[in-house]
């Protein structure tokens, strides 16, 4: 919650600065606008951005799970060898077309929806969306009702069924609460790509592209404008932040 409050304050301040910069811009060029849009240390999320992923399923190989390993290692998601209750933030799905027999593979994770059902149903507001579109769980006010797990169309959420040890300080988790992919928000806030994307680029086939969907100059925005991509369960109208190509 602190994050959103802070980001709201920052958003207002940014607008004020941007307004002032725009007024002054006529006489002093674009320097002030750049200053207004620059990220300060305490600025965490901005609605001027929307982080997203573009996944090319043709490049995603069936026998590659670099993204899954990268995520598990980044967040220390090693389970208890109990597949039914162990958490999975990202998983590989193998698809076979029932008519043609065409086989494809893709990673499935939280789709960071613009209108997330998990946020709608959460009774306490523990499930929330940051201004930059990242959907997170506030572990301090999650009561463990699992309604968000029921509501997520992508099966992207996991309930923590037992006590955890050796957690990463940047990725707090807790027994009795629900969690899912954070899009590596701790890395994004340091201008780094999510761990799954980095692993896919270095150990996999470069099937995942990360970037700001609102920045027309970004690679991801250019690519989704130039070629066809789709959202999973687009019929639900959730406007996902994760899109797939060649699916």
């Amino acid at each position: 919650m602190q994050v959103t409050i802070k980001s709201k304050v920052n958003s207002k301040r940014r607008k004020l600065l941007a307004g002032a910069a725009a007024a002054a811009g006529l006489s002093s060029g674009f320097q002030l606008i750049e200053l207004a849009l620059a990220k300060s240390d305490d600025e965490v999320a901005s609605s001027l951005k929307r982080w997203g992923l573009l996944i090319d399923t043709e490049k995603c190989a069936s026998d590659c799970d670099a993204c899954v390993s990268g995520c598990n290692s980044e967040h220390n998601l090693d389970g208890f060898d109990r597949p039914e209750t162990d958490a999975q933030w990202i998983r590989k799905i193998e698809l076979t077309d029932q008519q043609t027999g065409h086989v494809s593979s893709l990673p499935m994770l939280c789709q960071h929806c613009e209108n997330p059902p998990c946020v709608d149903v959460c009774p306490t507001g523990a499930s929330f969306k940051r201004d930059d579109g990242i959907v997170l769980v506030d572990k301090h006010i999650c009561i463990g009702c699992r309604y968000c797990v029921m509501a997520c169309p992508y099966k992207a959420r996991s309930f923590i069924h037992e006590s955890l040890h050796d957690q990463k300080s940047y990725s707090p988790r807790g027994k009795g609460t629900v969690e899912s992919c954070t899009l590596c928000v701790h890395r994004i806030d340091k201008d780094q790509a999510p761990a799954c994307v980095e692993a896919c680029n270095t150990q996999g086939n470069g099937a995942m592209l990360f970037g700001d969907l609102k920045d027309e100059g970004s690679d991801i925005a250019k690519k989704i404008k130039a070629s066809s991509s789709r959202q999973v369960r687009a019929d639900l109208g959730l406007n996902t932040g994760v899109r797939y190509q060649n699916l």
């Binding site: 208890f80 109990r82 597949p83 039914e84 209750t85 162990d86 958490a87 999975q88 998983r91 590989k92 799905i93 193998e94 698809l95 076979t96 077309d97 029932q98 008519q99 499935m108 059902p117 946020v119 709608d120 149903v121 959460c122 009774p123 306490t124 507001g125 523990a126 006010i141 999650c142 009561i143 463990g144 009702c145 699992r146 309604y147 797990v149 029921m150 509501a151 997520c152 169309p153 992508y154 099966k155 996991s158 309930f159 923590i160 069924h161 037992e162 006590s163 027994k175 009795g176 609460t177 629900v178 999973v232 369960r233 639900l236």
Partner: protein, 396 residues
């Protein structure tokens, strides 16, 4: 003719044995909840595929029974059926007790039950769960108010209005409970407005059955009586509720069958679902529907006390089956992410989810029952809820 009331008194072995049973169920239920909380939910049968299990079936069973149990009081205050008036007090009390038992099961199954205060202080008003917190606590408040107008002589003139408020509230409350499932857009078997009327009528089936069984039991303990006319008219009413529920369930499935996208989940529930299919046809339709309907309307069995008991127990078993099929069967069917494609993954995509109810879950659910009934008996021991039929007979 003034209706007198008395406190529940009994020295019958059945009474004391029941109290012992309720106590054991409460202790076992608390122990089970403590075990699941300290060990984590992996010791239960629930998992990341079936996130709501047996405790939720019990909890919703009790919550629906609560909103239906007040029907007897509504018949008296809202529909002016005088025959039910002596039982309006107990009907209202039963509703409160069942609701408390159901809510406690829900709360104790939370991943973090100690954070109940968080649920009471942080609200997301777009969530039907958050609204339900108000609807449930509000219901208890409204019914206590209703009881006050019945107990306090000078407030009797407001009983009808309070009864009407409770009547409206209970419909909104059950609509809220049905909406928990109706609003789940992602799940093939839920996501239907029909969930609301289905839950409302199911609550009437459950509440009427529980009331019949409880009223027959407490009058037996107290060696008093409930008029046969009252019981048999309730049994006929139960028959109408069961028929209405069968109709709504038929409409729900036929509507689903019309849409090709739902053929998979319908085939699962109606034909290929194993345990869920058996529970649907044998439990929900035959045991909970056809047999009691036949007994009530085609035989004279419904006009006997033993018949009332049998019919009520069958209706409860059928309703439990219906909730099990709806809540757990609805989750067991895999989410459809890619229509037209077969899918597989390490997270059980594309396969029917596995679920085996565990002992802690069963004990927690039964603990809710024990608590509801224990509360009822304790309050009836100290306050005059039981109609004093003998006093009426002597006076008249």
């Amino acid at each position: 003719m003034t209706q007198h009331f008395k406190i529940l008194k009994s020295n019958q072995p059945g009474y004391w044995l029941s109290l012992l049973l309720f106590t054991l169920l409460i202790v076992a239920g608390y122990g089970a909840a403590h075990y699941m909380e300290t060990q984590g939910h992996w010791v239960s049968g629930m998992n990341n595929q079936i996130v709501w299990g047996l405790p939720h079936v019990f909890a919703i069973f009790l919550i629906l029974a609560a909103s239906g149990a007040i029907n007897v009081a509504s018949l008296s205050s809202v529909f002016s059926k005088q025959g039910y008036k002596p039982w309006a007090r107990m009907s209202a009390l039963l509703a409160i007790c069942l609701l408390i038992g159901g809510l406690l099961v829900l709360v104790l199954d939370l991943g973090r039950p100690e954070r109940l205060i968080v649920a009471m202080t942080y609200y997301n008003f777009k969530s039907i769960f958050a609204w339900n917190i108000f609807l449930y606590t509000g219901f208890i408040f409204v019914v206590v108010l209703y009881l006050w107008t019945m107990f306090e002589h000078s407030m009797n003139k407001y009983t009808q209005n309070a009864g009407l408020l409770a009547f409206v509230w209970r419909f909104v409350l059950t609509s809220g409970t049905g909406s928990i499932f109706g609003f789940l857009v992602a799940r093939q078997f839920f996501d239907a407005a029909m969930m609301v009327p289905i839950f409302i009528v199911l609550s009437l089936v459950l509440g009427t059955s529980v009331f019949i069984l409880v009223s027959l039991t407490v009058t037996r303990w107290d060696q008093t009586t409930i008029s046969e006319e009252t019981i048999f008219s309730l049994v006929r009413l139960l028959g109408i509720f069961i028929a209405a529920e069968l109709f709504l369930v038929a409409v729900f499935h036929l509507t689903n069958l019309y849409a090709t996208e739902h053929h998979g989940v319908e085939r699962f529930i109606l034909m290929d679902g194993g345990r869920y299919t058996r529970l649907f046809w044998l439990g929900q339709i035959v045991v909970g529907g056809m047999i009691p309907l036949g007994l009530i309307f085609l035989t004279r069995y419904g006009n006997k006390t033993v018949g009332a008991v049998v019919v009520s127990m069958l209706a409860l078993a059928g309703s439990f089956s219906q909730l099990y099929v709806t809540i757990i069967g609805g989750q067991a069917y895999p989410l459809v992410l890619f229509p037209g494609k077969d899918v597989s993954s390490s997270f059980f995509d594309g396969v029917v989810a596995h679920y085996s109810p565990s002992m802690p879950e069963l004990l927690l659910g039964l603990g809710g029952f024990g608590l509801s009934l224990m509360l009822l008996v304790i309050v009836m021991r100290v306050l005059p809820f039981l109609p004093d039929i003998r006093a009426v007979q002597i006076k008249s």
